[in-house]
Amino acid sequence: MTTVRNCSLLIAFSCLSFFACDSDDTIAIDPVITPEIETPAQYTFERNGASTVSFSGQTTRIKMASELIDLMKDFDAMNKGNLLEFFRNDQQAPEDMYPYSDESLNTSTKSVKSKVAASQDFFSANSVESAEIKDQFEAWIVAQVDEVKPQEDIAAIAGTAGQIADGTSTRYVTGKGLEPNQLVNKGLIGALMVDQMLNNYLSTAVLDDAASGDGTNREKNDAGTVEEGKNYTAMEHKWDEAYGYLYGTSEDLSKPNATIGKDDDFLNKYMGRVEGDADFTGIAERVFNAFKLGRAAIVAKDYAVRDEQATIIRKAVSEIIAIRAVYYLQQAKASLTMETPDYGAAFHGLSEGYGFIYSLRFTRKSDSNAPYFVASEVDDLLKQLMEDGDNGLWDVKEATLDVISNAIADKFDFTVAQAGSTN
């Protein structure tokens, strides 16, 4: 045991030197900004004795997305009509032909689709790409019905859709080995949650400049003017909406880290997974603190502190996407290199990995108005993954998985080894 202990100590020391190296790059000569604003213990903010926090729209969309994902796994219940309706929600009660199982969603006019690839910073002047991405999600949804469902009771082989064993589970894949439900699930983490959070609600264009009625958000926040019929300023609300895409289904909405990873199958879940990897532990607290301090800074009208927190969130949330992409590629590599290759486990992992790679185009660099990977770079990574042979994942080579993993890790501060296992 003592040996193990010593090892951890050594690792801790190397971490210290790591941070030392890190700071070489960004030489810490700036005068340290000591925020006079304290980080609150929980995400609770009030005005005149009543809460000013509101993000029910985000909770609603996460729930709609969850129902869509569940339905994509239920071959008996699914058809193109109900799947697309769960994505689009362009019908409402009482005329809704395909109601959600959660009653509260059926009167809502919100939809998943309308917020896919719909951020101010990335897509407001890029409607062509936004439409392509929305179409891509619908194509995956349709593939589940047209390609995979008819093959439900047939064993998948290279080039032919069907079912394949993964441990005691069964996965259902296209002829190229992809699970469309995983593409939608993991793709939405980027296209919906991350894009809305990092490139819309944490954007200064949205927080500051947007004007509604009598002035910009910043002017109104400075004046303490609340939105009509509400108890929050527009800027407060925008920040809360960013918060909602990560924590909107938490058991305790003001102290969400107690159940982080267990509240939904989207960003919350993978924040939990990354937090659970000893190489990255602390990320959940870092992000939560940044959300709290940023919100407190809005109340204190200190926009520099607010924007610093947005930077922290952008970096960490982008890392989650990248870490999980590399994790699944490396796990799948291990499954494929076994004496008896476990294609089922590998394809499941690679389908998740595919979705996370797809999500990279929605990440956000801290210091610019750009993602870590632009669309063409993402397309190139996915092409590499799918084009080692004619049959997609059936043909993927170990070396290719490493090339893609390295390409992703190179743009971040973690190594493939750190991301590749949850040690």
């Binding site: 050594l10 790591f18 190296c21 009771d153 949850t422």
Partner: protein, 375 residues
């Protein structure tokens, strides 16, 4: 720049880790190979444990198969009794081979096609009604094997009379009888293929793969052994019914749920098999050969001043003592006093740590499985 630094740090880390682990690892301080004869252990495993256990299991499945044949020709209470007895003996004999998911067994996914529970009763009934089913599909794991037989032999009706009636309806081609025959034949065919493979050359392949790589026989069996202990034994037999992985107890997840009187015996058979494999004990208790325990002893592995092999054996004994206190039916136990289940789980869990951390580290074996995502 950043990349170079990361690489350098990774390098340093790897060196440090290697340096640390080699203190206790089988490579010894100077990087020399340890004195333990891995091949002799593989010979002991193959000839004295794995093959005889498969022979025994295969024979018991043969008896089960014949009992099904007799029952299907003449549906009677007496034949049902013999069939149930044969099912139980085969189920007991399954436990000691369940961990060896290597070679043909791995290729065929023997464990999943033999014992995934709870059985999917709805789908089984659908198969029987429709009369068409492809039992080789992985989506049919929980529609065959011992759990499906458990349902057919004990769960079809609330009295033996009514159960027998189900098999007697439409004598010429009774769906229930046909399904019983089909899933038993598949059980038989799977075990036969695995046994034939071991006897037909796989034994030598297994023993010849005597290195220390991640795909060597020792490393694979060690991982199979640990995975089995952690998932199939600790979690499936005890933890899941006790609600350890859910918001509350789930008695319907107990093994042999419909039989309702043997899940404890199956658990103990499994635990005994795991412990005797750890100690290199021959099938039938006829002697001992090299195994994980003696390997650890050769490396003088200790923990808190005590031999690790003894610690692990003591812990198996403690888990057995707790399990001995359980109701013969674990589903009943869950309902009556789940604390006893949880205590058993806790004692089983302690050996997960001793083996997964201490033993694997001492033997310089990497854990090759991770907890599944659950999605």
């Amino acid at each position: 720049m950043m990349r170079n630094i990361s690489l350098a740090i990774t390098g340093v880390l790897i060196i440090m880790l290697t340096a640390c682990s080699s203190d206790e690892g089988p490579m010894g301080e100077n990087g020399a190979k340890d004195d333990f004869d891995r091949e002799a252990m593989l010979v002991n495993w193959a000839d004295n444990i794995i093959l005889p256990r498969y022979e025994n299991y295969n024979q018991k499945v043969g008896i089960l198969s014949r009992a099904v044949g007799i029952f299907s020709k003449e549906i009677s209470q007496a034949h049902l009794e013999s069939l149930r007895m044969a099912w139980l003996e085969a189920y007991m004999a399954w436990q000691p081979v369940a961990s060896f998911e290597i070679g043909k067994a791995e290729e065929l996914r023997l464990r999943n096609f033999t014992n995934v529970y709870p059985a999917d009763v709805e789908n089984i009934e659908e198969n029987i009604t429709e009369g068409t089913y492809n039992l080789s599909l992985s989506s049919k794991f929980d529609e065959q094997g011992f759990p499906a037989l458990d349902y057919l032999l004990f769960g079809l009706a609330d009295s033996d009379e009514r159960l027998l009636a189900k098999f007697s309806e439409e004598d010429s081609d009774n769906g229930y009888t046909r399904y019983l025959v089909d899933i038993t034949a598949r059980l038989q065919s799977l075990t036969q293929q695995v046994l034939d493979d071991w006897k037909g050359g796989y034994r030598d392949v297994f023993i010849g793969n005597n290195g220390t790589s991640g795909t060597s026989s020792v490393n694979k069996i060690a991982n199979d052994f640990l995975f089995y202990y952690e998932k199939a034994l600790r979690a499936n037999k005890v933890g899941i019914p006790a609600g350890q992985f859910s918001s509350g107890p789930r008695s319907e997840f107990a093994e042999a749920f419909y039989n309702g009187a043997t899940s404890k015996a199956l658990l103990l058979a499994s635990l005994d098999a795991v412990q005797s494999f750890f100690n290199g004990e021959h099938h039938g208790g006829t002697g001992f050969g090299p195994g994980f325990g003696s390997y650890l002893d050769v490396l003088s592995t200790s923990k808190d001043g005590e031999q690790l092999s003894k610690r692990i054996n003591d812990q198996f004994d403690r888990a057995r003592s707790e399990a001995d206190l359980l109701n013969p039916d674990l589903a009943t136990q869950v309902g009556e006093d789940n604390t006893k289940m949880l205590k058993t789980f806790d004692e089983l869990q302690k050996n997960v740590v001793l083996m997964k951390v201490d033993m694997f580290q001492a033997l310089n074996i990497r854990v090759d499985f991770v907890d599944a995502d659950g999605d």
